[in-house]
Every structure is written in C-alpha cells, then in structure tokens.
Amino acid sequence: MSKSNGANGAGGERILRLMIVDDSNIIRRRIERSQQHARLQVVGSAANGREAVELFQKTNPDVVTMDLTMPEMDGIQCVERLVTMKPEILILVVSALADKATAVEAIEKGANGFLCKPFSDRQLNDALAELLKET
C-alpha cells in the first residue's frame, strides 16, 4: 500500500490510488486482477462500508469501486460518507442491483458511474476508463 501523493506513470500522468469495496473476496480479487489501467494503483480493499471508511482514512484513495449490498454499512451510505470526506473522489458503483432507481440514487449521492454485475473484464476497464476521463 502507498499513501504517497503525486507519483507519475510512464506517460507523466499522476498515478491514482484505487480502493476496492465489495463483500465478496472473489470480486475484490477479480477487480484487482482485471483492472488494467496504467494510471491506477490498488491501495487496498474492504469488505463493507465501515471497513471502507477506515481504509479510506489510511490510504486516501482517488478512485473507488463500490458494491452496494454489503453488511454493516451499505454502499449508498458509504458513498455519502466518502464524498463528504473527499468531494473530488471518483466512485464507480459495481453492483448486481439492476433497477434504474438504484443507479440514479447512487449517482445523486455522489457516485460517478455504475457498472452492473455480472461484468466482463472489458466492461470493467471501459467503465474505469470512462471514470478517469473526469480527472
């Protein structure tokens, strides 16, 4: 894990710290393994919203992938907390909840994108690339 700010990638662009939040270990590992964006460096992963807030305070991520249905603190609550702590954070919600109302609620709370499970590696990387256009 790294807490350093301002490291640059090969293209001179700033490296962005990525935190993965999902109650499924295999999904956390899959996102870490599959994400191929040169600007992203995984700084940690959390299994629920409460853990994510704690990890956020230790690692100060720039980008987050966020599940919604999780124990202890769900993803919508966690999005709200993270946006309060760091308004410029970029959050990609990665959830099985496929109704439009949930996607709209997540965006209204401060998420920047929504990827529906199940997802392919390409869909994940396309969604992350779209998110990073905002940087």
Binding site: S24, I26, R33, A96, L97, T102, K117, P118, S120
Partner: protein, 151 residues
C-alpha cells in the same frame, strides 16, 4: 401459496443465463422451470441463499456441486479454489441473479446479503407456505438449480 408469474420466472431465467455468459464466458442451458408441489427441492453441496423482503417476501437460492463451482472459479481466472472461495462464489451467484431481478421487479424487491449453507442440506428450508419454482441449470457436465420461493 405461490403467486410467482411466468414473466417473473423468465426474469430469473434470463438472469441465470446472463450470469454464465458474462462471468464464465460459456453459456449454460436452462431447463424448463417447474413448480414443486410436495416437499422441498433437493440441494447440492453448496447453497447461496438470498432473503427477499419489501414488496415481495421469501427467498431465492442457488445450489450447486463443488465441481461446478470450482470450474466456474477457474473460468473467472481465480486460482484460489478453497472452501472459503467456493462459498463466496455460491453466495455471489445468488446475489447477482437476485439483484439483476430488480430490473423487472423494481427497487421494492429488497434483497439481503447472502447466507451460505455448505455440506449440510438440512439447513436449507424454503418457507413452508410457499411452493418453490425450480429452474434447472446445466453447464458443461454439471447440474445446478436456482430456486425461487416468493409469496
């Protein structure tokens, strides 16, 4: 008494086929869904159970043998096929198919986080007053089931 409609069952069938097509990059064939009129549907070694509340009440569960789940993990490029990851996967499949159903059922179809039962089929007990629908799933040489029990 079950009031699950054919359109609702189709939602779960589509969610199941989509899961295998996308996650395993290998389609599953889904058999004809059937209503269980007596007793409870049998379960395999691992079962992921999602509680349903809100506008509908009941449960949805995905049950599969270890061999199928192991191959599914491998198709997802996961090298750790430990019991913990197998249990994680069976819960995630149930969660994903149930969550996808909200596309048709809407936000009032509230789903729980998964509960996983492994190695003890007696612990899987559908609500006694609801007749379960079984959606048979065949993938590669393996058989599994999605069971939908909704009031």
């Amino acid at each position: 008494m079950s009031v699950t409609t054919a359109a609702e069952i189709r939602t779960f069938v589509e969610g199941t086929t989509n899961y295998f097509e996308v996650s395993a990059r290998q389609p599953a064939s889904v058999g004809s869904p059937y209503l269980v009129t007596e007793g409870a549907p049998g379960v395999h070694e691992y079962t992921g159970i999602i509680g349903v509340s809100g506008a509908r009440k009941g449960m949805v569960y995905f049950t599969a043998p270890r061999a199928m789940l192991t191959v599914l993990l491998m198709r997802m490029n996961e090298t750790d096929t430990s019991d913990e990851n197998i249990k994680d996967l069976v819960g995630e499949v149930a969660n994903t198919i149930s969550g996808n159903a909200r596309k048709d059922f809407g936000k009032e179809f509230v789903i729980s986080t998964p509960t996983v039962v492994a190695h003890d089929p007696k612990l899987v007990s559908p609500p006694p007053h609801v007749r379960p629908f079984v959606i048979p799933i065949n993938w590669r040489t393996h058989s599994a089931k999605l069971v939908v029990c909704l009031e």
